[in-house]
Amino acid sequence: MAKFIVRRFILLLITMILVSIAVFMITEASPGNVAKNVLGAFITPEQEKSFLAQMGLDKPAYVRYIYWLVGSDWLADDKVGMKLRRVTTEDGFVEWWAVRSDGALVRWKLEGDDLIAVARLPSLGVATEYTNNGRWQTQEDGTSFFWGVDTANHVVKWEKGADTEVWNFVIGTGWMKASGGPVQYIPLKKGFIRGDPGVSLRTGRPVSKTIFTRLRNSVVLAGIAFVLVMPVALLLGMIAGLKEGSLQDRFLSIGGMIFSVIPEFATGIFLILIMAVWLQIVPGATVFGESAPWQRPDMLVLPVLTLTLIELGYILRITRASMVEVMKSPYIRTAQLKGLPYWRIIFKHAVRNALMAPITVIMLHVNWLMGGIVIVEVVFGYPGLGKYLLDSAMFKDINGLEAGAMILVLLAVGTQLVADIIYTFLNPRIRYT
């Protein structure tokens, strides 16, 4: 069994790596343009080029993938010749600094031909500026250059007198033209596997923070639906399976089928029309607060109901099929011919075997459920992970998309792993081999 779990775990890792590469490759091949998405349609080619260079988007895809996966700071360390450190400010932004031998944090900027160092001692918190021309180095062709950390989280190669035109875009301020100096950028990041999914191109904020809130919101939504669905669906499914062919069975299984095959958005529309427009039981317009959408439970009714109906039908049908099969098996016949009471046959001999299939299938279904959640979130404007993912995909916000994708894959494969483990405990045939 240990072998089995280790194997699944390795599969999980491989899957995640494959998916992250696939997402990168596909986004690479896509015709859209991130710069236009971020900066609007009216930027000049120079502005675009400068922007791409600053974002590191001018580098080949594999380099970007490696930066994304394992970070770029370890590479930049060498160039600068100092250790680099990531600091999160009080208002949630990320800053990168070089660490001086005395422990002070340093960044640089270029004023004319002068190199200005901005240094901050951790204890003081106030930055001091001083000229730092001593760090200029000379290249073979005689020009002077210098590698350092700029104020916008890049490691930058400055050249004296290079006089390249640089456009800096500052969110909230606009374009700032600067000239002279930066010829090469390495955007600094820690890398996904070191816990840094990067900064969202769409919002300019670190992905990790937003995505955590969104994930929590989605989990709340799905969790409520799950808790409602499971007992009801399993019970109804078993009743239908036990009375195979009866009127109740037909009603339940056809009803379940209808709910499970109608697309979520259609179910959502029907529910809005019936519950909100016609009966007016719940509010039709749903505007959720980003941080705590559950503060208005009346608004949650419709999204939860939509999810519930879809899952109800699916689990009901799986359970029914499994129950029907078990009730036809020879060991149930044995139990009947042993003269056991009906309920003992059901609970002792049938239920456990009948639940084995649904539990694994339901866990595998998490994969599918996520699709439902995305749609439900879009239909009702619920600020969950699904909507975040859709927005990121439309915007080609690679960092947001990758992080969301990784979370979904982790959840999907993780639940499969859990399903496998549960299955081994339910099924002695696997447990003892």
Binding site: L11, L12, I14, T15, L18, V19, A22, V23, I26, T27, A29, S30, P31, G32, I254, M257, I258, V261, I262, P263, E264, F265, A266, I269, F270, I272, L273, A276, V277, G284, A285, N367, W368, M370, G371, V374, I375, V378, V379, G386, L389, L390, A393, M394, K396, L401, G404, A405, L408, V409, L411, A412, V413, Q416
Partner: protein
């Protein structure tokens, strides 16, 4: 041994009366299988729903005086009326026309570019292409086994582990919205499932003795896979394909709803719902209601049909 009767029973004059099992014509057999539908009420209801949509899709141009793009700016967002049996959308386009032309794209034609289309609906093509690719992969990895199987299955496992919606999002976001790309996305999403099914069927069938007989004749692997194995796997594959058509329509609707499907202004049920949704609370629910009803009835019809058939064919086994 001399000619004539040995210990063996059937020979010469001794041939037993053979029950009349003469080969019936293909059509007769087909009809016999088909007639099962009439034994099942659910299958009949399903068949009716499906045939209705196929009918309106094929004869769409004769069933409405409007084209799906014709705008009537004087009467946007109105309810059903004599002129517009199902009402109009926010641009005053006739909803009935858009609905039945939408069915056309789903079931009857696959638009390739603005004025080029091929027969077979987008959903149908999505299933067919996935079926071809998945069947080939499943046969090969199931029959050869070993490292070919290992690698193929690990890759497909990885694909199946990725939430389907994510695959759709990524693929459609990357490729851009068009009918062909919807088919490509459906192929990529559908292939692993079909490959798994065909592989498991292949693993089962290859243990049969007629496969061993073929192997002892030294037949080449392609003959064994496509001539000996595939025809015997067709039953479950066809049932699966039927269910997949239902799912493909589901997926098409969902993609359209997310704005990742067939691009506007082409009439697509999903995007019609997405647009119409904005006007529900403004008091005109029709533009969202009708396409939702359309997609619901079509997928429910397909599933009722498949369910009824399966149940009826199993009843007296």
């Amino acid at each position: 041994m001399t000619d004539g009767e040995s210990a063996v029973s059937t020979s010469g004059d001794a041939v037993d009366p053979i029950p009349d099992l003469r080969q019936r014509s293909f059509f007769q057999r087909w009809w016999e299988g088909f007639s099962i539908i009439f034994a099942s009420k659910t299958a009949m209801v399903g068949l009716f729903l499906v045939l209705f949509w196929i009918f309106v899709a094929i004869f769409a141009p004769f069933l409405t005086p409007y084209t799906p793009l014709e705008q009537d700016w004087k009467s946007p967002n109105i309810g059903p009326s004599a002129e517009h049996p199902l009402g109009t959308d926010e641009l005053g386009r006739d909803l009935w026309s858009r609905l039945i032309y939408g069915a056309r794209v789903v079931l009857v034609v696959l638009p390739i570019s603005e004025d080029l289309w091929i027969p077979g609906g987008t959903a149908i093509w999505g299933v067919i292409v996935a079926l071809v690719v998945g069947t080939a992969l499943g046969l090969i990895s199931g029959y050869y086994g070993g490292w070919i199987d290992e690698i193929t299955m690990r890759l497909l496992d990885a694909m199946m582990a990725v939430p389907i919606i994510l695959l759709y999002l990524i693929i459609m976001a990357a490729l851009g919205a068009s009918a062909i790309n919807v088919v490509i996305a459906m192929t990529i999403v559908g292939t692993p499932g079909i490959a798994r099914l065909v592989r498991s069927l292949t693993l089962d069938i290859r243990t049969r003795e007629y496969i061993r007989a073929a192997e002892t004749r030294g037949e080449n692997p392609w003959h064994i896979m496509f001539i000996e194995i595939l025809p015997n796997a067709r039953g479950p594959i066809i049932v699966d394909a039927m269910l997949r058509v239902g799912y493909a329509i589901f997926a098409m609707g969902t993609l359209g709803f997310l704005g990742l499907g067939i691009p506007p202004p082409s009439p697509d049920w999903g995007s019609m719902v997405a647009k119409g949704r904005e006007f529900i609370l403004a008091g005109s629910p029709w533009a969202a209601l009708w396409p939702s009803v359309a997609i619901a009835t079509l997928v429910v019809g397909l599933n009722l049909l498949a369910d009824g058939l399966r149940e009826e064919s199993m009843r007296y086994q």
